[in-house]
């Protein structure tokens, strides 16, 4: 099924895609988002707009996406299951589509315990796999989640999901990825990869099942600013594996930030050679300005043009 997503066109025509992430601010101005959008516009094919990442209240992902579109960049709206029931999800996504959003990333969302509203009542009315399935059905069969027909103008999103090769149980991770593909995911962005060995094993299992032929997998990378940041991810973020040698390398570096960028570029170069990987997703958390350099020096610039 073709959508109007540029990202889809690019991936379907066999290009190695580059996406990045923009985190909306904790205030009501779009100034920063627009600044980052202008900066990234020629270097990436689309940007994810996080949906109240780590359950912290931020400018809405859909509103941010409209600013990004306005700057000439293609947004990927993230939709979590944490904050909305199926009525709100459908309503917001119809709205997003009407505003020109063409890419959707479905995820369960971080638990509110981690955010700035830990006493909030969460929703989790449906889970991410159900969201993928229902959105796919909305588009391809023109049915609301309830099964009621959508008479006209169904939202035709290019539908994505996430996969975490570093969470447990490891053996089930590929099966769950397949389940997401089965539900209707067309592109997958992975959790940040630091443990290359484990990711290679994951991709091997993906290829064994032929999943890479049914879905576009974009490998997640994150440039680290310091060994402390690496240590934090290693010890305090569930579902992450950061090998000690990365922590050590940053510790020994004279200029840790430079080293972080170097490591990220090496990772991308490595990832480009892993069969079945169709792109990279750069999550430079609060460090968006290094993305152009990373893209350029990884040999991924200029970005291909599609109609």
């Amino acid at each position: 099924m073709k959508t109007e997503s540029k990202l889809q066109k690019l991936l379907d025509s066999g290009h190695f895609a580059v996406t990045a992430e923009i985190g909306p601010p904790k205030h009501a101005s779009a100034h920063g988002i627009r600044h980052h959008a202008h900066m990234l516009k020629d270097y990436v094919d689309a940007t994810n707009i996080t949906d109240c990442q780590t359950a912290i209240v931020r400018l809405s992902s859909i509103a941010s996406a409209v600013h990004i579109l306005d700057c000439g960049l293609e947004p990927i709206v993230q939709m979590t299951c944490r904050d909305r029931n199926r009525i709100a999800i459908q309503s917001d996504l119809l709205g997003a589509y009407s505003l020109g959003v063409r890419n959707l990333l479905c995820l369960s969302g971080d638990h509110q315990k981690f955010g700035n509203e830990p006493s909030a009542k969460n929703v989790y009315d449906i889970d991410s796999i159900q969201l993928i399935y229902l959105m796919r059905r909305m588009r391809d069969e023109k049915l609301f989640f309830s099964g009621e027909p959508i008479k006209e103008h169904e939202p035709r999103f290019f539908i994505g999901a996430v996969a975490n090769p570093f969470a447990d149980p490891f053996e089930f991770r590929v099966a769950r990825l397949e389940k997401k593909v089965e539900a209707g995911a067309e592109f997958i962005q992975t959790q940040c990869i630091f443990d290359m060995e484990r990711f290679e094993r994951f991709m091997e299992m993906v290829r064994e099942r032929g999943i890479h032929e049914r879905v576009h997998i974009l490998a997640g990378v994150t440039p680290l600013k310091s060994w402390r940041a690496a240590k934090y991810l290693q010890t305090s973020v569930s579902g992450m594996i950061v090998p000690d040698d990365i922590v050590e390398r940053l510790k020994k570096a004279e200029d840790p930030k430079r080293e972080g960028i170097e490591i990220c570029i090496e990772q991308i170069k490595h990832i480009r050679n892993i069969p079945g990987v169709h792109g990279v997703h750069i999550m430079a958390i609060a460090w968006e300005e290094v993305v152009p350099e990373i893209v350029e020096r990884s040999g991924l610039f200029p970005r291909p043009k599609v109609e």
């Binding site: 969302g109 315990k113 989790y124 889970d127 159900q130 099966a175």
Partner: protein, 223 residues
């Protein structure tokens, strides 16, 4: 069974601050088993409140009673005479008991002494854990007898999420990931393929979100 925990005594005292005489009603049901609202706890609470008020120079009179169950009208009928002579009733039952007393004695000030928390069971002496979210449409046959609605922090029906690591949930190293437990059990049962089926969205209309629920057994109804 229902697990409840007594509110801090200062909170209970504040709810009856302007009363001279109160009736404390314990319940011999669930809250006795979880050691929070039985006869013993009722007596202890009564005496603590009296001591507290005596120290404040504003003595409180208490009457105590423990109902067989507060969630059955026939057992609170017996309170009729006791309720008459007091300014307030402090119920040590779950929220149902408090509501039943308030409903039966509608001109009386009735307050809860407990925080009714969840439906669970004991996992060790003195430890209770939530096991069921009373969703009204049990799916334990699909999840190896482990409830993802309540034991998974995100109520995921197609888990585990990306936060599951080393068998623990992303919210805390002290919380087991329900989906790891489900995976392990289904694997041991040779039923992993069942986990590959996409579980449909849940029909929450059978749960709390559908309004107050009712269960009717016509065969035992009288009249």
């Amino acid at each position: 069974m229902i697990i409840a925990q007594q509110k801090p005594i200062k909170d209970i005292a504040a709810m009856i601050a302007d009363c001279k005489k109160v009736l404390l009603v314990g319940c011999a049901g669930c809250v006795t088993v979880c050691l929070s609202g039985g006869e013993k706890e009722t007596e202890v609470l009564a005496s603590s409140l009296r001591i507290m008020r005596r120290l404040q120079g504003n003595p409180l009179e208490t009457v105590t009673y423990t109902a067989t169950r507060q969630c059955d009208p026939e057992y609170i009928e017996a309170l009729e005479n006791l309720v008459k002579n007091v300014d307030a009733v402090v119920s040590l039952a779950c929220g149902v008991g408090v509501q039943y007393i308030a409903e039966r004695f509608h001109d009386k000030w009735v307050v809860p002494a407990q925080n009714t928390m969840f439906v669970g069971g004991s996992t060790a002496h003195g430890v209770w854990e939530e096991r069921c979210g009373l969703c009204g449409d049990c799916i334990l046959h699909r999840t190896g007898g482990i409830c993802p609605i309540i034991r998974c922090s995100k109520s995921i029906l197609n888990g585990p999420c990306g936060g599951s690591q080393y068998g623990k949930c992303e919210i805390s190293k002290d919380v087991d990931c329900a989906w790891q437990l489900i995976y392990d059990r289904m694997k041991a049962l040779g039923k992993l393929d069942k986990l590959l089926e996409i579980q449909p969205p849940k029909d929450w209309s059978k749960s709390r979100d559908g309004g107050p629920r009712k269960a009717i057994r016509e065969d035992v109804m009288i009249g």
